[in-house]
Symmetry: C2
Subunit: 913 residues, 2 copies
């Protein structure tokens, strides 16, 4: 049997099948499939990838039988479409497209309207009754052919496009700036000018023979497989050169051939809400690009969607065609089992489907569609979960801008800057420039956006009362971003175009000035910073879960969300905990499904008014006695905090980290505050300044912090351990069952851990004895500097659990401070050094290697060692996948990312199984 190289599709029957992707490429296989399920696909054929391979093996020669096969296939197209290729009366026009197994930039894309010349264009003109259309088709064809087949287009963005140059000159002569103003004669002249330029540059005449056009275009596709850009892309993405590309040749259909022609796009379900309703837009007498161009207002496809508008729907205008589309909609969902996005064209009253693919959708729609399809029996729960992008859940949790208001603000030029989307959701409020004002203004009921160049731990209270946080510096894991995410605050960071002036209390950006008290709106999903007020809508899920302003039965969104979460919880095998420092955060985490607290940062507790004084007294004490006196004041407060958190968490484990940040972070920096504190302490301002100066560090990130504090001042660790155990003992007496896990930060050497564990265990014994109660507790360590991972086998000897602090581990492994990375992050992403921000997505090659090493070494020493992660990566889906792969017991993330983590963990479990 002779080899087959050409695969025809059309008239409800295709030579190929969807599984033949290797041979037909993705596009070709898809066209075959669409044809096979009886969609009215314009006829065409695919030249297989084998031809490409032979083309290169045989010095650019095709297999002998190819020419005959192509001729026959063209004849079949002519028959199916009722037109002839090269016919001067009613010419069949073709499109030519490349199509490899995977979509590949750098290769020849598309040539449309192939088959036109000075004779056939007359036929097209008379058949369409639209001369301008016909000659514009011709003009476009020559340009496209010249560009992609003859290679005369610009090579880079900065090059001059010779066709655009000619077009611009022509428009200049015609005294217009728009293509649409060019008349038939202008277009004819343009074709001539294009052709002579082509003649000059290539030395040969533009081919008028349609067959010659076709073969040259096919050859151009095969050649494009091996051009520099395609080769570079393949090398970067490990695509073998042997795969080759297929060529797709398909008949053109036009939606602008008269009153019985039109074009449109449709979604089998609503892509915004996910509602199970047919949804789409169309225009009569139009080509595909007209629908999206926004010059004419598209019409709704059905009456349901039309609502109150005056526009006529397709259902009304062409009921037959609409019915046909409705049937196709059902066929598509039955066949693909997912919401589809289709493009259709009506040519002289006949419906053609040009493309169908899984439709893009909002997070709301993604969840609703997935859950509905399970209910409809179309897909399994697992399939539904697999289809959710975990990040999409964010949209269900955060307030959003009213879309219309936002749109008009952006069009109206009120967009000030775009920063990094650090805390999803939308917020609007009055601008304040410091934490104190934020508290004061919020205290009197104002909605405020706290605007800072960057934030520090002292700003926490101001941040917690603001509606949103905006900074001009810092990256996605800067202090502002971290705290905002944990608090569930809307946050945009690193909006570099903003010039923030604290003294003048104003922001300058793009020539505009925003003063203190002016309204500003920020979108933590898009990173947009917009001048003025834009109304926001609250999230239904939060209304149900926390506000109580909406009953769960009244919210479809909530019910779908809850159902999906329950499936995920049932499937996942890895634990999901939350990072939470306060009882209210703990309660939220539990509501979201957290199974424990993986990181409770005790230092955040010290910033409240009455505590900060005692804490500063401790820092500034000159000896242990002084420190102990101040710590004694803090003990009951810390104990109360822990009690609240333990109560919120019930019998779920709570990992409490001992004091971590360098002490100078707790001291005042501004003159007035220093004077005030000196007064309180009864010392001279100068003395205090000196002390503060002595605590200053060149690189606080690598300074006197973490367990290094507890090593030098064991009394701090002792007080904190005491507070934890006293709280726990009291609860046990009250019949509760708290599970504290004490975690020592920044350990780099077994001995450090041993010394701190000793202090903690001594406190535990004393408290348990004093209170006559036994506590079920663990003592473990963070693994957050490379040395800890490298010596994890030793460290494990003294640890009951490991928790990877991948924020700090990323900083030290890369030697990059996340607060300073903003200075080069963009260059690093642009130049392809970092594929992602390593502070957002775990760096598997470096940081991941150390994490793996830590797990393996730790479990070498203690096979049942409990291992988790509490860096920001614990809430990022691809990083969670990594955690599952290397066998972590749990991930921990900010409360608002718990649902995301649960979905990701379920996906990881399914992938593993």
């Amino acid at each position: 049997m002779a080899a087959k190289y050409v695969y025809y599709f059309g008239g409800g029957k295709a030579d190929g099948r969807s599984e033949m992707q290797d041979l037909l490429g993705g596009k070709g296989a898809n066209l075959a499939e669409m044809t096979n399920i009886q969609l009215p696909v314009p006829a065409g054929f695919t030249i297989s990838t084998d031809v490409c391979t032979q083309f290169y093996q045989n010095d650019g020669h095709y297999p002998e039988s190819l020419e005959r096969e192509v001729e026959k296939a063209v004849e079949k197209i002519e028959k199916a479409m009722g037109r002839k290729f090269g016919d001067t009366k009613d010419p069949l026009l073709l499109s030519i497209r490349s199509g490899a197994r995977v979509s590949m930039p750098g290769m020849m894309d598309t040539v449309l309207n192939l088959g036109l010349n000075w004779e056939t264009v007359i036929g097209l003109a008379s058949k369409s009754g639209d001369d301008r259309f016909a000659f514009d088709c011709y003009r476009r064809f020559v340009q496209m052919y010249g560009d992609v087949v003859l290679g005369l287009g610009p090579e880079t963005k900065d090059d001059i496009d010779p066709f655009e140059e000619i077009l611009a000159a022509k428009k200049n002569e015609a005294g217009t700036e728009k293509d649409i103003d060019l008349g038939v004669d202008d277009l004819k002249d343009l074709v001539e000018r294009y052709k002579s330029m082509i003649r000059e540059r290539t030395g040969v005449e533009f081919p008028d023979n349609p067959k010659e056009q076709l073969w040259k275009a096919i050859g151009a596709v095969f050649h494009s497989w091996n051009n520099d850009r395609a080769n570079a892309y393949r090398k970067l993405n490990d695509i073998p050169g042997e795969w080759g590309t297929a060529v797709n040749v398909q008949s053109m259909v036009f939606g602008n051939l008269g009153d019985d022609s039109g074009t449109g796009v449709a979604f089998t379900r609503n892509p915004a809400t996910g509602e199970n309703a047919f949804y789409g837009e169309y225009l009569m007498k139009a080509q595909g690009e007209d629908v999206v161009a926004g010059i004419r207002t598209p019409q709704p496809i059905n009456t349901e969607q039309k609502g109150d508008s005056d526009l006529q729907s397709l259902e009304e205008e062409m009921p037959e065609i609409y019915r046909e589309l409705v049937e196709i909609r059902k066929k598509l969902e039955d066949h693909y089992g997912d919401m589809q996005d289709l493009e259709f064209t009506i040519q002289h009253g006949r419906l053609w489907i040009l493309q169908t693919r899984a439709g893009k959708r909002t997070g709301f729609a993604a969840i609703r569609i997935a859950v509905d399809m399970v209910r409809e029996g179309r897909i399994s729960k697992e399939e539904a979960l697999a289809r959710i992008e975990p990040e999409q859940l964010n949209q269900l949790l955060r307030p959003v801008f009213d879309p219309e208001e936002r749109r008009s603000a952006v069009i109206g030029g009120r967009l000030l800057a775009k920063g990094i989307n650090a805390g999803p959701g939308a917020a609007t409020g009055k601008v304040v420039f410091n934490a104190a004002d934020s508290e004061e203004w919020a205290g009197r009921g104002e909605e405020v956006i706290l605007v800072r160049i960057e934030t520090s731990p002292e700003d926490i209270r101001g941040m917690s009362v603001a509606s949103g946080i905006l900074t001009s510096m810092g990256g996605a894991t800067s202090h502002a971003a971290l705290v905002a995410r944990q608090m569930g605050k809307v946050c945009v960071v690193g909006a570099k175009d903003l010039r923030i002036d604290y003294k003048k209390r104003q922001i300058v950006a793009g020539g505009k000035t925003v003063n203190e008290g002016d309204f500003i709106s920020i979108d933590g999903i898009t990173g947009e910073v917009i001048e003025g007020r834009i109304d926001t809508r609250p999230s239904e899920v939060l209304q149900v879960l926390f506000d109580g302003t909406l009953h769960r039965d009244d919210s479809v969104v909530y019910k779908d969300f809850a159902e999906l979460m329950s499936w995920a919880a049932g499937i996942k095998t890895m634990g999901v905990r939350a990072n939470a420092d306060r009882p209210d955060q703990a309660s939220k985490a539990v509501a979201f499904g957290a199974e424990g607290i993986g990181l409770c940062r005790t230092e955040h507790m010290f910033f409240e008014e009455e505590r900060i004084d005692a804490f500063r007294e401790m820092i500034l004490a000159s000896d242990e006695e002084g420190r102990r006196a101040a710590l004694a004041k803090l003990l009951p407060m810390q104990k109360a905090d822990f009690k609240g958190i333990f109560e919120a968490m019930g019998d779920r484990p709570v990992t409490v980290r001992t004091l971590d940040p360098p002490l100078h972070e707790f001291l005042p920096h501004e003159d007035a505050e220093i004077e005030d504190l000196a007064g309180k302490m009864g010392i001279e301002k100068r003395q205090l300044e000196e002390k503060i100066g002595m605590l200053k560090e060149a690189n606080p990130m690598l300074g006197h912090r973490g367990c290094r504090l507890g090593i030098v001042y064991p009394e701090i660790t002792e007080m904190q351990a005491r507070a934890v155990f006293e709280a726990a003992c009291e609860l046990v007496k009250e019949g509760e069952n708290p599970k504290p896990e004490i975690m020592i930060p920044l350990v780099g050497d077994l001995r450090e851990l041993e010394l701190q564990v000793e202090v903690v265990r001594r406190a535990a014994e004393e408290v348990q004895k004093e209170m006559g109660v036994e506590i079920d507790f663990l003592v473990g360590t963070m693994i957050e500097i490379p040395r800890a991972a490298l010596t994890a086998d030793r460290i494990a000897a003294s640890a009951e659990f490991f928790s990877f602090g991948t924020n700090d581990l990323t900083q030290t492994t890369f030697g990059v401070s996340r607060d300073d990375a903003g200075k080069f992050l963009n260059d690093y992403i642009e130049k392809g050094i970092w594929k992602d921000d390593p502070f957002q997505r775990i760096d598997r090659d470096g940081v991941g290697e150390l994490v793996k090493m830590g797990v393996v070494k730790g479990r070498d020493t203690k096979p049942d060692l409990k291992v988790g992660i509490c860096g920001e990566h614990g809430g990022e889906p691809s990083s969670i996948m990594f955690c599952a792969e290397i066998g972590l017991d749990y991930v921990s993330c900010s409360p608002f990312r718990v649902p995301i983590a649960i979905i990701a963990a379920a996906q990881a479990a399914m992938k593993k199984a």
Copy 2:
């Protein structure tokens, strides 16, 4: 044959031999050896470690034959010494000591004068003619026995010693504070009081029977093998419990029995200079402790040593004894092949040798003795090299204080503080508090000590003209220490007790105030900071090598040094390079034997007057064009610098690192300077302040520096590469053969390196083309952050060499900033977390693991990859040993450490062979 448990020594014959250390313990074997080489060792015997083992196996029972063996051995001692144990006329007294294979704290140490009771003490008194001596012996014996045998001494330093309590009470009653004022009756009373206290506490009588005393003391030694402290020490040092301890019983001799008795210590060669001359001190009518106590002035042992002093020498006072000692001196050196330190006692005109061991010596002496002994044919060159502590070479290179002046200053209370010895040598000069003053004062010929809280790169010029550098903050690898070591400056850092006040221009320490312009003296070998002027002596080696003020033939020190270095250079297999940034440093490095430059820091070049302006212009430029304009000004200057360095290095390789520090380090910080710069730039001060503010970083160590600068501003790398290649090409044209190696810092990912290598190679090609010359060059990278080591296999693909930057690698692996580590370093050393400062001695478990990984992975990709180290560790002997173990090709260190590194590298090669 029955087992033998007791090994007698005495009268020139011993049962044991030096090789029997396992059986006799170190001390026992040594006593046997001394006896065997005919030294007059007081007779005694050793009970073997076998007895200890059996003692524990048999519930504290001794082997049956032991008692008889001991009795016989005691008899032999009595015979040899002409006295009888327990004799009431002329009693033989014994000392009892433990002695394991290795010396071990925690075990019973020593009981002296055993054999005394109320009867024998009378014999001792009459025989010595000194009642007070006899009863003081008795008093001491009871106290020592009570303490170590009966265990009544204090357990910790804080415990009260019951014997001292009684002694103190007695002195109180006697109305004196000194033991020496107690009379014979007081001493008798003390013995009684001690004994009754012992009776009270133990319930038994103090044993008067000498034999009982002996057996109880032997038992106490064996028991002490298994006490808590000994067990803890063994566990910590991996000493098996089965080893057991031996017991050494030896007859006592006394140097205070009359005018024909005496005691002394001697060195077979001068321990300060190494001169081959017998050297020692003695006192007649004295015990060993009197010689060192400093109450009486000891006499010289020979006329040569006596010089102009009035003291009589042993040579004059007891010529026979002296002759005997001279013979012993020869015997010792012949036998041990090293300079010995011996203790001797003359008892009634008879010479006894109590101990001999390798003598402690200065660096000068160490080298002179080693080289002399090779010349004398006593030892091989290898043996000579093995005996040198590489660090001792420092003493030959640095100026030192006049020892007498220093001593009187310290005794006179002029010691202000002790800091970390960061740059060896002694310096004296007037105090200045900033770099500008340092330059100004030095410019007018003053010797200055630059005193700063800490230094920064801006201080470099001021540092380079100062005689010494003193800081109150920072550790051994702070900026001040690093720069000082490279410049070969005397430097003391982290002298915390100094309160430096820039405004008042004064130092306050220990109640004293040192003002600007006052003299101060610092010793970078001891870390001492001394008020006032102390004369220094220059190093002979430097006078010969650099100053030309001394001819090599006139300096024994230089000749010995040069000879030793030539041996080392011939033996070592690993290369030794220097870190040098300027031609003068390069020349010094070559003079010291460097085989290349392993690190040339280009940034130091930017601080000179004319350059800093152009460099700042570059930093503050708002676009690439502006940066290029400023860089064009810098190019000829950098080129000239490189040319100078290449010239100094000849055809030795020179590794040039591209710009490394964050740009803000080059900007002014002080108001006046900022105003000045703004004026020069023609912008407003406020604008400049804003720019400076924008460049500020939270953690500069982890900020925008290293190759991150070259990635964002490739034009900087381009200019630097151009400067290197233009300089090299010009030299090639002049007939030279420069070997530049360009090194990219702070690489963490292959792509970073690729991008920078591309820039460098492009510049190389262009320059070579322009100049029509070919250059032999390499392009490589530093491995100085964990991620680079973890992904070294990939990075090696683009690197022609690796150079480990272990300073930064230590900072990132530990997560510790060396500038801030001072805050907890002391606690970490004290608490045993760090055995050494990891910035001084490479941390093998963590940082070393990464270095090893980097080497293995790098060579997996490129088997012939050249690998070196250029961190400070490259000049530290034990780290150099590590580098040799893991197969590095070279180490690089500051020029003044090159000789040290060469010795260490030779030792490493010998160890490997």
